[in-house]
Amino acid sequence: MNIRRNNSSASGSGYTHVAIGLHWLIAFAIVGSFSLGLYMHELPLSPQKLKLYSWHKWAGVTIFVFVLLRLGWRLLHRPPELPTDMPAWQRVAAEATHVLLYVLMIAVPLSGWLMSSAKGFQTVWFGVLPLPDLLSKNKELGDTLQQLHMLLNFSMAALVIAHLGAALKHHILDRDEVLTRMIPFLEKRQTNGDVK
């Protein structure tokens, strides 16, 4: 264990601009389409509901594509290390949360796509590109996949809250650079503040 208080990342390099861009793009898209999903599924049937469902599905496919790009980028560009003074359990927790978040970023849109197929509503990306239906119409399977889609989403919401809490804890309590390396302008503002 490293006892020395050291706030700099071991690698000394931060995230690439692309990694930061993809993180925030996907983050806002997930929050948006999660909220949309929560809102739309209770609506009575209307043209508006059909529109919202389509937009939600388009968003899901788009997020899926960006997550694949992000994973590819991550494989080619190693993310910076965690601060060296983090306790082992926190490292494990951070690693596990990140792995699970990636798993869910893939699993959530996949479950939505399969659920749509099982319910007999094909996904046509932006109303232009039809995705194949891997499952044929089956009401019971559709209902099961709906439960799964919901469960995966609420798991993701819980993990996102943990992720957010941990980031704030690093920033406010540990005062390390874990949050600022994902929000570069925050670092600058703080530096300016320190100068005053």
């Binding site: 059909l50 007999g120 109303g127």
Partner: protein
């Protein structure tokens, strides 16, 4: 004696089939083998549906197609529009108003041979109290003592007031609805 007669008639029918296929008329519609499907487009997503209950009367003599007649009566409440929500919705006043108009009807007015196995069927389609002229091309396949009539056509929702009010927005549910039908009729000797 009765049996003998029956076999004689049957044998005669079979002979007639082999030697002169035109001496028969397809007029017993077999509903179990027939189907009435439709495909609507919702946000450009094709969604399949069908009517599960309908009755049809056909009288089709391949030798005299111009004299043929076809009638179809559809129980609108038997619709499967793809989901329970949709089924409840389309029974309502904006869509089929099933309570007031429980039955849709097609009656042929003319049938013209187009050569080969194809026929042009024109007729009057009545849905939700509105009657419109309609023409479709039907493909007939004969096998033994039964004939299969396959056809497809495009209906416009606006012609029959199907999906009014907020549903009149064709950018969500398209105006054009694709209909695919298959009617199987067996023959009885004339």
């Amino acid at each position: 004696m009765r049996h003998c007669l029956k076999y004689l008639v049957l044998g005669g029918a079979m002979l007639a089939l082999q030697s002169n296929a035109q001496a028969i008329e397809f007029n017993q519609v077999q509903l179990a083998k027939s189907s009435l499907m439709f495909v609507s487009k919702q946000m450009n997503v094709p969604v399949e549906g069908q009517f599960k209950s309908f009755r049809s009367k056909i009288a089709f003599d391949p030798a005299k197609p111009a004299a043929a007649r076809a009638e179809l009566e559809i129980d609108m409440a038997s619709i499967d529009a793809g989901s329970k929500d949709a089924n409840d919705e389309v029974a309502g006043k904006d869509w089929f108003n099933t309570k007031t108009f429980p039955i849709a009807k097609f009656v042929s007015t003319s049938i013209k041979p187009l050569g080969g196995d194809r026929f042009e069927v024109a007729g009057k389609m009545s849905i939700k109290g509105k009657t419109r002229d309609l023409t479709t091309t039907v493909m007939m396949r004969q096998s033994g003592d039964s004939a299969t009539f396959d056809g497809s056509l495009t209906l416009k929702r606006v012609d029959y007031g199907i999906g009014e009010g907020m549903w009149a927005d064709f950018s969500v549910v398209a105006n054009e609805v694709q209909i695919k039908f298959r009617l199987v009729a067996s023959a009885t000797k004339k």
